[in-house]
C-alpha cells in the first residue's frame, strides 16, 4: 500500500544533481521510438517500389497530406485539449492562399508554401481568440460556424476566389529536373512533408512545451497557478496547428490542380475530427493511422462511399465508447499485453 513517508528533514545537503532527473528541454527518444521511426520512414519511402499501382498511389498521396492536417489537429486537441470542427477551413485558407498567389501574382509552389503556412497560422490564431473566453463546447460551435462562413465568403468572392466553381492550380515547379507531375515524385514530396511534420510533432510533444500544453489540457487553473501563460500558449498551439493545416492545404491544391469552396466546409472538417479521434489524438502515429483507415478501409473492404461513411460513423462510436484513445491506443495496449504474455512464458523468468 502506498503509505506516504514522513518528509525528509532538510539538514542533508540537497546537491545530488542526478542528471537523469533534471527537467530537460527535449526528451531523448527511446530506442524503441527510434527503431519504429526508422521502420515507418523506410516503409513510407519505399512504398512506390512495391508497385502499388496508380490508384493506390493516388490514395496514398491523399492520405499523406490529410495526415499532415491531422497532426495539427492532434496537437491542438490531443495535447492542449482544444477541439475544432473547422480545421478544413484552415486548410482552405492555405489552399486558397496558394491558388490566389498563383493565379493573380504568378507565385509558384515553393514560395507559396511558407506563405500558405503563415496565412493559415494567422487565421487560426485569430479564430482561436474566442476560445479564451468561452468553454470548449461553445468554441467547437464557433469553429463550425467559421467553416460555414468561410464557404459563404469563398462562394461569393467573385473572380477573386473563383466563386462556386473555384480556382485552377498549375503544377509545382520542377526541382533539379524532377517533375512533380509524375505521380511517384508527387508521392515522395508529400511523404517527405509528412515525415518532417511527424518529426516536428514528436519534438513538440516530447519537450517542455508539450508538457506545458498537456498541463493546460489537464487543469487550466492549476497551470496558471504554476506560472503558465495559458492564453498565450493556447493561441500559440492553434497557430502551429494552423500552419500544419496550411501546408496540407497547399499540398492538396497542387495535387488536385483545382480547388473549390465545398472542399473546406463543414463536412470535411467533421471528417478530419472523426479521423483524428478514430486514429487516436495523443499517440505519435495516431493521426497517420486515422487517415489510413478512413482512406483505405473502403478500398480493402470494397465498400461504396455511402456504406463506408456509415462504417466511419459506427467506428467512431465504437472508439469513443470502448477505445477512447483511438485505434492507436488500442494497438499499443495489445502490443503491451502481448509483450507481457511473452515475458510470462519466458523460462528464464525475465521480469
Amino acid at each position: 500500500m502506498e503509505q506516504a513517508v514522513s518528509p525528509t528533514p532538510v539538514t542533508r545537503t540537497p546537491n545530488r544533481t542526478d542528471a537523469k532527473d533534471k527537467p530537460r528541454r527535449f526528451d531523448a527518444p527511446s530506442r524503441l521510438e527510434i527503431i519504429t521511426g526508422i521502420i515507418v520512414a523506410l516503409f513510407l519511402l519505399g512504398f512506390p517500389s512495391l508497385n502499388p499501382g496508380y490508384r493506390i498511389l493516388s490514395l496514398s498521396i491523399t492520405t499523406a497530406f490529410t495526415a499532415v492536417a491531422l497532426y495539427g489537429l492532434a496537437l491542438q486537441f490531443g495535447q492542449a485539449g482544444i477541439m475544432s470542427v473547422g480545421h478544413a477551413a484552415v486548410m482552405g485558407i492555405g489552399a486558397y492562399t496558394a491558388a490566389i498567389l498563383a493565379t493573380k501574382l504568378g507565385v509558384g509552389f515553393w514560395l507559396a508554401l511558407p506563405l500558405s503556412a503563415i496565412m493559415s497560422a494567422l487565421v487560426a490564431g485569430l479564430i482561436g481568440l474566442p476560445s479564451l473566453r468561452v468553454s470548449g463546447q461553445h468554441y467547437i460551435i464557433i469553429t463550425f460556424c467559421f467553416c460555414a462562413l468561410l464557404v459563404i465568403a469563398l462562394t461569393n468572392g467573385g473572380s477573386f476566389t473563383g466563386a462556386a466553381t473555384g480556382l485552377d492550380v498549375g503544377s509545382i515547379d520542377p526541382v533539379f529536373g524532377l517533375s512533380f507531375d509524375r505521380l511517384k515524385n508527387a508521392y515522395y514530396l508529400v511523404i517527405v512533408a509528412l515525415l518532417l511534420c511527424i518529426l516536428a510533432y514528436y519534438l513538440i510533444t516530447n519537450s517542455s512545451y508539450g508538457r506545458t500544453l498537456r498541463a493546460i489540457r489537464e487543469n487550466e487553473p492549476l497551470a496558471r497557478a504554476v506560472g503558465i501563460k495559458t492564453g498565450f500558449h493556447k493561441i500559440g498551439v492553434l497557430m502551429v496547428s494552423g500552419a500544419f493545416a496550411g501546408v496540407a492545404g497547399i499540398l492538396q491544391a497542387y495535387y488536385l490542380h483545382h480547388i473549390a469552396p465545398n472542399l473546406y466546409g463543414a463536412f470535411p472538417s467533421l471528417y478530419l475530427a472523426l479521423m483524428v479521434m478514430l486514429g487516436g489524438a495523443r499517440l505519435l502515429y495516431g493521426p497517420l493511422i486515422g487517415a489510413v483507415i478512413v482512406t483505405f478501409l473502403p478500398e480493402i473492404m470494397h465498400l461504396d462511399p455511402i456504406d463506408s461513411r456509415i462504417a466511419y460513423g459506427v467506428g467512431l462510436l465504437v472508439v469513443i465508447l470502448l477505445l477512447p484513445g483511438g485505434v492507436s491506443a488500442g494497438l499499443l495496449s495489445m502490443c503491451r499485453w502481448l509483450g507481457r504474455l511473452n515475458h510470462k512464458r519466458d523460462p528464464n523468468g525475465r521480469a
Binding site: V85, I141, C145, N156, L274, Y312, L316, L321, P324
Partner: protein, 294 residues
C-alpha cells in the same frame, strides 16, 4: 401591406422550425451539457418519415404524429445507448454525436435516396384574413409552434417537473442532493427535444423540400438560436428564433440573399464572444463550468 404580412408569415414559419429544434438543443445542452450534433438529423428523419407515411397514403397529421413518436424513440435510444455514457465527459458525447449524424445521414440515403423529397401542401387552402391572402399551411405551422412553445414554457415555469428541471439546469449537483433524479430528467429532456425535432421535420416538409443533408443546414441555426438566447432558456430560444427570422427577412428583402446565412452566423459568434451566456442566459450549469475554468 399584403406582401408584408405574407412575408411575415413566411419568416415566422421558417423561424418556427428553427425554434422547435432550438428548444430541444437548449434544454439538452443546458441540462446535460450535451451538444448533440445529430439533432438536425433527428429533424431530417422526422421529415423523411412524414414523407414516407404520406406517400403510403396516411393523412398528413397522422404521419406527423408518427414522425414525432419515431424520432422520440430514436432520441431515447441515442440517450440510453450512447450519450448516457459520456455525461461526465461531454466532449466525448459531442464527438459521438458527430458519428451519429454521419450514420443517420447515410442510412437515410441508403434507405431512400439522395434526391430531395417533398409532399404536396397538406391543407392546400388559401385563407383570406382581413383582405390578405395567406397560405393556410404556413399559418398552421406558426400556430402549432406557438402552442408547443406555450405548453413548454408554462410546463417549465409552473409545473413541479419544470421547477425541478430548472433547478437541475442551474446546479446539477445540488439538485441531485435534493433528491431530484437528474439522470431521469436528462433522458426525459432528450426524448422531449427529439419529439420536437420530429415535429419540426414534419412541419418543415409540409413547406419545403428536404434532403438527407437538410439536418446539417438546420443544426447551425438551431445552435445559433439556443446560444443567442441562452442555454437552458426556452424563452431565449424563442427570442433567438424570432431574431434570426427577422435577420433573414431583412436580408432577403434588402440585403444580398447569398449572405443571409452569414448574418446569422456572425450574429451568433458576436453574442458568444460578448455575452457567452446568451442574451437571456441564466447561470446554467455550463455557465458555471465556464466560470470555474477562468
Amino acid at each position: 401591406m399584403e406582401i408584408f404580412i405574407q412575408q411575415l408569415i413566411n419568416s415566422l414559419s421558417v423561424a418556427s422550425v428553427t425554434i422547435l429544434i432550438g428548444i430541444g438543443i437548449t434544454l439538452i445542452f443546458g441540462l446535460a451539457g450535451i451538444v448533440n450534433f445529430a439533432h438536425g438529423e433527428f429533424l431530417m428523419v422526422g421529415g423523411m418519415v412524414t414523407w414516407f407515411l404520406v406517400n403510403a397514403g396516411l393523412n398528413f397529421f397522422v404521419a406527423l404524429f408518427g414522425a414525432m413518436i419515431l424520432v422520440g424513440a430514436l432520441g431515447f435510444a441515442a440517450e440510453r445507448g450512447l450519450f448516457r455514457f459520456t455525461l461526465d465527459r461531454p466532449m466525448n458525447g459531442f464527438i459521438m454525436s458527430i458519428g451519429l449524424s454521419v450514420i443517420l445521414q447515410h442510412v437515410v440515403i441508403r434507405i431512400f435516396n439522395e434526391v430531395q423529397k417533398t409532399i404536396p401542401d397538406p391543407v392546400g387552402q388559401v385563407w383570406v384574413v382581413g383582405g390578405v391572402n395567406i397560405i393556410a399551411m404556413r399559418a398552421i405551422v406558426v400556430a402549432i409552434t406557438a402552442i408547443v412553445v406555450a405548453l413548454t414554457y408554462f410546463g417549465i415555469s409552473r409545473s413541479r417537473y419544470g421547477v425541478a428541471l430548472r433547478a437541475s439546469i442551474a446546479d446539477q449537483d445540488t439538485a441531485a442532493l435534493m433528491g431530484i433524479p437528474v439522470r431521469k430528467y436528462v433522458t426525459g429532456v432528450f426524448i422531449y427535444g427529439s419529439v420536437l425535432a420530429g415535429l419540426g421535420g414534419a412541419l418543415m416538409i409540409a413547406l419545403f423540400p428536404i434532403t438527407p443533408f437538410t439536418g446539417s443546414v438546420v443544426i447551425i441555426r438551431g445552435f445559433a438560436v439556443s446560444l443567442i438566447g441562452g442555454l437552458g432558456n426556452v424563452g431565449g430560444a424563442v427570442v433567438g428564433g424570432l431574431l434570426l427570422g427577422l435577420v433573414d427577412g431583412l436580408s432577403a428583402g434588402y440585403g444580398s440573399p447569398e449572405w443571409t446565412d452569414a448574418y446569422s452566423l456572425v450574429l451568433m459568434i458576436a453574442v458568444l464572444i460578448i455575452r457567452p451566456q446568451g442574451l437571456l442566459g441564466w447561470n446554467t450549469g455550463t455557465a458555471r463550468q465556464l466560470k470555474n475554468s477562468q
